[in-house]
Amino acid sequence: MDSFSSPSSGSSSQLSAQDFMGQLKTQLAQAYAEEFLETVRGKCFDKCITKPGSSLSGSESSCVSRCVDRYIEATGIISKALFSMQR
């Protein structure tokens, strides 16, 4: 992790705890997003590109769009289901 840095406007070279937490949050969010993207790529490739041709066909790319939407929706359904369990 090389990107924890003090804000350039700060007079001291020390990173405050506030800045540290803020940057950690940003980096975590980035990591979560990357991981999610990687999962969606895998799932939608399996579903939509069953026989890779010389280019991405129209039906494949519309399948991919739907697949991405459904995967996001599925994530919402699952997290709702988990939270409704803690009654």
């Binding site: 799932k43 697949c67 997290s79």
Partner: protein, 78 residues
């Protein structure tokens, strides 16, 4: 950052909170991939059918039931 700041209660609280969030996140992500494979069998449509939706909900619930059962089973082993 002053290294001693790592021991500050504020930072510890923050880290614990983020740890918990990461665990929940991981759980949701894991269950989504498992249940997606089980419940979304055809090519994805423009909306989920009601059977797909209830399969996803049931899948999450049953996975948690099963985890509990397995945990109990292992606790009884020694």
């Amino acid at each position: 950052m002053d290294p001693s700041a790592l021991n500050s209660p504020e930072l510890q609280h923050f880290i614990n909170q983020e740890k918990e969030k990461a665990m929940v996140n991981e759980m949701v992500a894991k269950l989504t991939t498992v249940c997606w494979d089980k419940c979304v069998t055809g090519t994805p449509g423009s909306k989920f059918s009601s059977s797909e939706t209830s399969c996803l909900t049931n899948c999450a619930h049953r996975y948690m039931d099963m985890s509990l059962q397995i945990m109990k089973r292992f606790q009884n082993m020694h």
